[in-house]
């Protein structure tokens, strides 16, 4: 659910990073935070446990610039990836405008990826959304590790609809902005359809 304010000439959109535990959702946000000019970003808020596992969500507001005199703001959220935080994940998806699914490329995490994707589908459906109709992209993260599955195989398992996908190494920033841009673009084009 975007918020378009004609009075302050602002457009606010919400993008959620989804994916299994330890796949690199928070790392994506941290990289974006580090590489963005101070005047374009707000605080990176992390509601995490003492061991830096996301407990509720991370939040990063980004003001990217202007389109036709309207300030465009993206609010980036991550969900807690661990299976038992299911209830919290549902809450964060409320009012989402676009989703980035971060998949862990390591072969041994493939089952966790599939499980998380299924969880995303169910949670979106509960709110009347469908992955197919939402601005959505997949990021195959951790491509720098030795034991990664080939992208073709991951596409078969996690991207049957053939949506936009990106290879990423969130720790060094490879693919991070590309993925965000991919979904941000879809979100704005979706708004164009409606307004």
């Amino acid at each position: 659910m975007s918020f378009i304010n004609y009075s302050s000439r602002e457009i606010n959109c919400k993008i959620v990073y989804y994916g299994p535990g330890l796949c690199g959702k928070t790392t994506n946000l941290q990289f974006i935070y580090r590489k963005t000019n101070p005047e374009q970003k707000g605080k990176l808020i992390s509601l995490a446990t003492e061991t830096e596992r996301t407990l509720f969500f991370d939040f990063l507001p980004l003001a990217l610039g202007d389109i036709r005199g309207f300030k465009v703001r993206f609010h980036l959220y991550t969900v807690p990836g661990q299976v038992f935080y299911a209830a919290s994940r549902k809450l964060i998806l409320k009012g989402v405008d676009g989703v980035i699914f971060v998949a862990d490329s390591q072969i041994e995490r493939m089952e966790a990826n599939i499980e998380s994707l299924e969880d995303l589908r169910i949670n979106l459906a509960e709110q009347g959304y469908a992955v197919e109709k939402l601005p959505y992209a997949v990021q195959y993260n951790k491509r720098d590790l030795p034991n990664v599955a080939p992208v073709e195989e991951m596409n078969k398992l996690l991207n049957v609809n053939g949506v936009q996908w990106f290879e990423g190494v969130a720790t060094t920033g490879i693919g991070v902005f590309e993925t965000l841009k991919g979904v941000a673009k879809q979100v704005l084009l979706e708004l164009k359809k409606h307004y």
Partner: protein
């Protein structure tokens, strides 16, 4: 897309702003905020320059969402009021018409009783304004008309690429 986007025009924004300014004065509050349920700040009144309003909006919505989750687990529809008491500042959070969240921050110059009383009045007025916004959006949807000054009408790939330079 499920749900509908929130589109706010000048006159509606002014009405909301007036209500918040009034509440700010009458409740003797430090700051008053209005946030949508997804965590986006709609409007504020009072001295906000020392406060990270964007973060506050997002966390308040998270707070309301979590409390709503607890309510449903207990078979309640929603807990509509939250109150946090601090050493100096207190925060009163209330859900209005299942749509927006009204946040009042106040210190010892005011009291919980006064804030609750004034919030109740403002809530009624705000609920009415948001009903109007919703019915207007519905009407526009039926008519299929796009707003004349829509910033999206001529949006191009280049515009979007420029955002990421």
């Amino acid at each position: 897309m499920a749900g509908s986007d929130l589109v706010m025009h000048d006159n509606e924004f002014q009405k909301i702003d007036e209500e918040l300014q009034r509440l700010h004065q009458q409740a003797n509050a430090s700051v008053v905020f209005l946030v949508d349920k997804n965590g986006q700040l709609i409007a504020s009144a009072g001295d906000t320059h020392n406060i990270d309003t964007t973060s506050l909006a997002s966390l308040t919505a998270g707070n309301i969402a979590a409390t709503g989750g607890i309510a449903r687990l207990l078979g309640e529809k929603e807990f509509t009021i939250l109150f946090h008491e601090g050493e100096k500042d207190n925060i009163h959070i209330s859900l209005i018409g299942q749509r927006v969240i009204l946040v009042v921050i106040f210190d010892q110059r005011s009291s919980l009783g006064l804030v609750r009383l004034r919030v109740k009045k403002t809530a009624e007025a705000l609920a009415k304004i948001f009903d109007e916004i919703a019915s207007k959006a519905e009407k526009e949807k039926v008519e299929g008309g796009k707003t004349a000054e829509s910033p999206f009408a001529e949006i191009s790939d280049e515009d979007i690429d420029n955002l990421f330079k």
